[in-house]
């Protein structure tokens, strides 16, 4: 059984389009994340949701809008795609525990290519 799944795994689209990436976890976790990995392999947090509420919103363009319909899903919608949005986007999930080294489980990533 896949713990954290993302769809699609590959996405090729043109500048100016709007696209969504879906993420689902079946681990019973209450916290989900979106990370972006750029062309130099650098990974950076974008958003964090706990129990469907936004906890972290790093400095990302407001063209990026996360949506969490329930604790098991965190989707990422991107408006007006730009060339610089090309990257691999990772979804992750974990349990929100205070002071515990809970593991974050990552999805397989979505490679977004904007042409």
């Amino acid at each position: 059984d896949t713990a954290v799944s993302q769809t699609p795994k590959y996405l090729v689209t043109q500048m100016g389009n709007d696209k969504s990436i879906k993420c689902e976890q079946n681990l019973g976790h209450d916290t989900m994340y979106w990370y972006k990995q750029d062309s130099k392999k650098f990974l950076k947090i974008m958003f964090s949701y706990n129990n469907k509420e936004l906890i972290i919103n790093e400095t990302v363009p407001n063209r990026f809008s996360p949506k969490s319909p329930d604790k098991a899903h965190l989707n990422l919608h991107i408006n007006s795609l730009e060339l610089g949005d090309s990257a691999v986007y990772f979804c992750a999930s974990s349990l929100w525990t205070s002071g515990e080294s809970d593991e974050q489980y990552f999805g397989p990533g979505t490679r977004l290519t904007v042409t």
Binding site: Y33, N50, W96, G99, R111
Partner: protein
């Protein structure tokens, strides 16, 4: 924000030999967690090992062990008896122990090549 530095963009090791990957971090917090993640060509992020800052004992997972030096803010990964399957990007990551911040801060990664 915390910063994590991996000063070795690339490393190579002979099969069956030992290699150490370096990681340093900058934080003003006293309690936190450190991780090493492996990313093979499949792109999947895999947790290799983790260390709680309040524990003095270095974490060990089979062939993987860490050298955690809290005062020096250093967290290196030692891979013993290297195998071809160890070839991957390795990322060092930091997480605050503060309950309001569960996200990971990653280093820039070290690409490990294993030579047969």
């Amino acid at each position: 924000a915390q910063t994590v530095t991996q000063s070795q963009p690339e490393m190579s090791v002979q099969e069956a030999e030992t290699v150490t990957l370096s990681c340093t971090y900058d934080t003003s917090e006293s309690d936190y967690y450190l991780f090493w993640y492996k990313q093979p060509p499949s792109r999947q992020m895999i947790l290799v090992i983790r260390q709680e800052a309040y524990k003095q004992q270095n974490a060990t997972e089979n062939r993987f062990s860490v050298n955690f030096q809290k005062a020096a803010k250093s967290f290196s990964l030692k891979i013993s008896d290297s195998q071809l399957g160890d070839a991957a990007m390795y990322f060092c990551a930091y997480r605050s122990a503060w309950s309001g911040a569960n996200n990971l801060f990653f280093g820039t990664g070290t690409r490990l090549t294993v030579i047969p």
